[in-house]
């Protein structure tokens, strides 16, 4: 809401200008123009907005260095441009504004593509996807939605699991406000299984050995993609070409092995999460 406040400025409502010509008109009262590819190369730095507290996608390790699935991609993107990445850490709500106010060139922060966001930024091709997952005890694993009929499913309010399972009247839903409470309920045996983003349950099941993710992919898959300022076609096209090129060398599978596999373990299938060449 507060981020929206800043957007109420005189130019906040005119994000649609097309800047692909490369001219940097920077008059007062106009939205600040995104940097062109040439300007980025000349400056020697690609400014990237990343998360610093969302392990294992974007976090800071014990030496204070940015790490994670998003960061591995950012490093490669910068390297192929012949520049060094410069990270700006963002909160989820700031991801649109850092692009609109030209604080960064590209946002690589687990940014799920939604219609509302597409009106404000330009998304490139996806490099990851997220769906629902269901975690249950090893002793009584739930492997399909049919198995859940007549049983109690724990979910956190406000997640995509809530509307998804509302379609199944046979499944008793137990809702919690906090993730931590929902997990504790599962640990206490107050429900038969729990569902939320598959990336989240996979990581949790890894840390809690007596639980397993019986269903790793459920519901609509939501793409996660890099975003640039609205209208920055040159950079957008470059990133799209880069993603297609990296797909040929299975770059994101290597990225998965390096950053996500240690968290998710061998049991989970990388193809449930990784997107190669921008094709879901």
């Amino acid at each position: 809401m507060l981020a929206g406040f800043a957007a109420c400025g005189p130019s906040g409502a005119t994000p649609g200008s097309d800047n692909n010509s490369g001219s940097s008109s920077t008059g007062a009262g106009k939205q600040q123009t995104a940097r062109t590819l040439d300007q980025i190369k000349k400056s020697g730095k690609l400014k990237v907005a990343v998360f610093s507290d969302k392990a294992p996608f974007g976090y800071v390790d014990k030496d204070g260095k940015n790490q994670g699935y998003d960061i591995v991609f950012a490093e490669r993107l910068a390297k192929d441009l012949g520049v060094k990445p410069e990270y700006t850490t963002v909160d989820p709500a700031a991801r649109v504004d850092v692009l609109a106010s030209n604080k960064v060139d590209v946002t690589l922060a687990n940014f799920t593509v939604t219609p509302e966001r597409e009106e404000k930024v330009d998304f490139a091709k996806p490099y990851m996807k997220v769906a629902l997952g269901v975690v249950s005890p090893d002793s009584k694993p739930i492997k399909s939605v049919d198995q859940l009929k007549g049983k109690t499913l724990i979910i956190a309010k406000g997640t995509t699991a809530e509307p998804y399972f509302a379609k199944y009247p046979d499944i008793k839903l137990q809702k919690y406000d906090q993730y931590a409470d929902a997990y504790n309920a599962l640990l206490d045996g107050r429900g038969d299984a729990m569902s939320t983003d598959n990336t989240e349950v996979l990581a949790w099941a890894k840390a809690n050995k007596v639980f397993t993710v019986g269903i790793t992919k459920l519901g609509d898959e939501q793409p996660i993609a890099p975003a640039v300022q609205k209208g920055n076609k040159a950079l957008l096209n470059y990133i799209n070409e880069e993603i297609v090129k990296l797909g040929k060398e299975q770059f994101f599978h290597k990225d998965y092995d390096q950053t996500l596999k240690p968290v998710y373990g061998d049991s989970s299938n990388p193809d449930d999460i990784v997107v190669e060449g921008g094709k879901i």
Binding site: A3, A6, S11, G29, K62, S101
Partner: protein, 224 residues
């Protein structure tokens, strides 16, 4: 006690201290710059010129009514969009905290100056002091004494409010704490309490000496 072990992990404490240094730097620079701004603003507020008074009134009320977070977002995102004035996050914080500190301190200075009785000015003039001597030798020492408790209060508020800088992406002590908690959430799920506990003591040991100095000065000046 499992969560407490996180504090012994290599890198955890040095990084928190680095974050604390960013906090202290922003607060320190803001306070140092606020002092001259506040003194000038306070002096301007005591002037009888109606235009100056009106401008100062608007300035003080605007800063006082706006939440600091809103001011920070305007300085960081709003200026970049509206005026193409791209401040970095630390710069935006210092700007907002100086404007805020200057306004609040200015009002304190005004109150302190106006609380000095008329007779003090008149007595000084009768003793043959010129107007600068009156101000620097008679009025200012008394005003400073009245100013001190409220100013220390303001400084500690500035120190604590620097935590909002984390929302602009500044890696200060709170943000470092969140990063450490998250990076360790699988190994140390209950690290939150311990990290925030340490941060609590860090803020405490920054603000506490200020209170001590203020109390000492007040005591000493009480016997002058």
């Amino acid at each position: 006690m499992h969560g407490a072990e996180i504090l012994l992990q290599p890198g955890v404490f040095p990084r928190l201290l680095q974050g604390l240094w960013v906090t202290i730097w922003i607060a320190g620079v803001s306070v140092l710059l606020s002092l001259p701004v506040g003194l000038v603003v306070g002096w301007l507020m005591t002037l009888r010129n109606p235009i100056v008074r009106f401008i100062m009134r608007v300035y003080l009320d605007f800063i006082r009514i706006m939440p600091q977070l809103a001011l920070l977002f305007i300085a960081f995102y709003g200026f970049a969009r509206a005026f193409n004035w791209n401040l970095d996050a630390t710069g935006a914080c210092v700007l907002v905290f100086v404007l805020w500190g200057g306004a609040e301190l200015g009002d304190l200075v005004r109150g302190a100056l106006e609380s000095i009785p008329r007779t003090q000015y008149e007595s000084a003039q009768v003793l043959g002091l010129n107007s600068w001597q009156t101000f620097s030798r008679v009025i200012l020492p008394q005003a400073l004494r009245r100013l001190l408790p409220a100013s220390v209060n303001l400084i500690t508020r500035i120190v604590k409010t620097t935590s909002l800088a984390a929302l602009l992406g500044v890696i200060e002590v709170i943000k470092v704490g969140q990063q450490i908690i998250d990076a360790n959430r699988f190994q140390y799920p209950d690290a939150t309490l311990w990290i925030y506990g340490v941060i609590f003591f860090m803020y405490f040991f920054v603000c506490w000496p200020l209170s001590i100095v203020a109390r000492r000065l007040e005591k000493r000046w009480a016997h002058d």
